[in-house]
Symmetry: C2
Subunit: 344 residues, 2 copies
Amino acid sequence: MSRTEHNGTGRRRPPTIHDVAREAGVSRGTVSRVLNGGHHVSPAALDAVRSAIRRTGYTVNRHARSLITGRSDSVAFLLTEPQERFFEDPNFNVLLRGCTAALAAHDIPLLLMIAGTEAERRRNMRYIAGHVDGVLLVSSHSGDPVAAQLHEAGVPLVACGKPLGQGSKVSYVAADDLGGARDMVRYLYASGRRRIATVSGPLDTPGGVERLAGYRATLAECGLPYDEALVVPGDYSRAGGEAAASLLLERAPDIDAVFVGSDLMAQGVLTTLERAGRRVPGDIAVGGFDDSPAALAARPELTTVRQPWDRISAEMVRVLLAQIGGEDPAAVILPTELVRRDSA
Amino acid sequence: MSRTEHNGTGRRRPPTIHDVAREAGVSRGTVSRVLNGGHHVSPAALDAVRSAIRRTGYTVNRHARSLITGRSDSVAFLLTEPQERFFEDPNFNVLLRGCTAALAAHDIPLLLMIAGTEAERRRNMRYIAGHVDGVLLVSSHSGDPVAAQLHEAGVPLVACGKPLGQGSKVSYVAADDLGGARDMVRYLYASGRRRIATVSGPLDTPGGVERLAGYRATLAECGLPYDEALVVPGDYSRAGGEAAASLLLERAPDIDAVFVGSDLMAQGVLTTLERAGRRVPGDIAVGGFDDSPAALAARPELTTVRQPWDRISAEMVRVLLAQIGGEDPAAVILPTELVRRDSA
DNA sequence: AATGACGCTGTGAGCGTTCACAGTAGAGAA
DNA sequence: TTCTCTACTGTGAACGCTCACAGCGTCATT
């Protein structure tokens, strides 16, 4: 005997909490209590309600709930990168996938917002205030005022990577960029390299400055001189890597290793080196950063530093939900791992 | 003189339609009418309300609205690919970006849902029914029952690529795969190639079968024999391309061209050919499909078929919104374009 | 036996909108 | 003038839920 009434044309009105209450022989209040943890509900009532929910196929109307609770039970994933990077950089996919999954486990949908243009930025900001419980922010450039704005508006917020110049007020989760760079440079040194250059990330991004700092500190640690000619800032793109390597080769033809701030740039570096007739890793060792799919796509496959994206996304969600729950902002730094392949 | 009251600690209660009404000296009803198109509102009232909205910083509470209208004014982007592909394939990013932007123009947020596992699939289905106005579906494998389920549940739906075996009931937007394959094979033929092999996409995806059909038809058109040994199905991955090329070289060492069903696979094909000592395009021409970033990353750069992703995403959104608005399902096929680079 | 505490339950109010309806005023037609 | 029509406006009701409160038994304590 089917309780769910048939439905010839189109969708029918979905069951409400009233329907469940009637079906279970209890009141709305009791059903609501079951829905929200089941405290102060007798075992008998609990059973009756649960089975009524199953029979009716009831799902809560989140709009009605949000209307009264003031929460929206949804979270925005806000991306303020220039769009070329989003298209090119596989790290975003991994991060996005991870956050979606972590949120799904809490039954919280992820609203994707991309702010390439100024108009989009404004629209997103307007939407976020009041329609979303919190924001996962991905925007590496420190010039971006969005973190400050959101923080000021009192919106719970977790950034991916330490936002430069925001003081210590906003939560973030980041890989240990400095440590990762150190591991790579140590490794290059240990394998006999003595003229180690670097192509850094943009110096207005935390990854750019931190990895460069790690490079510099490790050079000192190894007793190698710091030579400005060996440092070229890139832009995290493949083409940027190609250009940086050309410059490097011109300035210092005698280099025997390059630590590159991202795998994508490292791919570009490899291209330039190949064109210049340098063998990798024979003549020059190349170390990347990220361990993205690009590392495996490169020839030779890249020795690189793995960013723990799965843990990063999981932590971002954990910290954000904690903050929505009233806890204080937190900073989380996760260890990286050196991945040895063929390029160094 | 600031009307927005100050707010020392945390967020304050946002202004409601009542506040606006009072501020403008009209009733809720009038404000509501202004919010919904401004019909049947006098110019004076319109002005008063608009300026009141500006002064109070009012934004509508979408939950309250949704509660009564029954609409949610949001759309799900549902991805049911195995996750490796999502991580590797840059096409998704372009599509996602395009859909987000197109929806944003209508002030409709995009809920990202990824169904890698069965549990995720169920959760997403439960969420979608009742919480979302429509679905943009990206799942190329026809075995996937999700399109049928959604369609049956009466959820407005647009697929990316023709869903195999769904009859003609569900809307879709696709590139002209057949035409694109035809252009590529014609081009290879025109440049003197006579033993043209192909690495197709998976044969349970529309792209796989359509492009293969185009290849086959054009061979016939050119008077070339169809040789089963020259056809190897791939899996859209780079590694799959490598394997397919090995098989091809083994079966038919005399081939002088390969039409590959995706750029990513073409990258793999190039790797294998290079290892085997074949020169591209000297010995063997290679044609890709997609014109993704991978085409530019390949060496030599890929001659390929451009999928008009920006138009695809825009059309998907247009068709979906039309369908939500009550129109009938529609199929849209968009032209592709041959992009000549270095590999053929 | 009376009191308090506690666990469970039902009820009314209200969240911020939209919608249908009724009412008003002004313009044009008879 | 009177009537009708139209354009505009305000008012209750409702959407489906949670929350605070009050009621009611039951048990332990005084």
